[in-house]
Symmetry: C2
């Protein structure tokens, strides 16, 4: 895919911080377990809606922001 690795890692880290399993997050978010697994393992190319469902339930926002120049 691309370098969206940050996104996937961020999702996983957040999930682990919350102490919830993939299965539980799948149930809470309405995203299929199979889909969540693919996303966290860096395969797949999730849609904005799928990302948003996961973000929502974990208290996160999916957003676009102007890139800050590397200092």
């Amino acid at each position: 895919m691309m370098h969206l690795n940050n996104l996937y890692e961020t999702l996983r880290e957040r999930r682990e911080t919350l102490g919830v399993t993939q299965l539980h997050l799948a149930e809470l978010s309405g995203v299929a377990l199979r889909t969540l697994k693919e996303i966290e393992s860096g395969k797949g190319n999730p849609t904005a809606e799928t990302l948003s469902k996961l973000a929502d339930v974990m208290g996160m926002d999916l957003k676009l922001e102007i890139r800050k120049p590397a200092v």
Copy 2:
């Protein structure tokens, strides 16, 4: 879809700020014009990769961040 309206508006605003047409952005980003039109018009549910391609070329980042409580 969802309330990803922010995302789409952000994309359009950024494009207009840069003074570039949909056609030009499509060429620069490698996202098909048809696809870009659908996104900006709020239809469609773009993939992370598509969003990322558009963001990249406009100097933006797609990111997930912990929601800030409404003050």
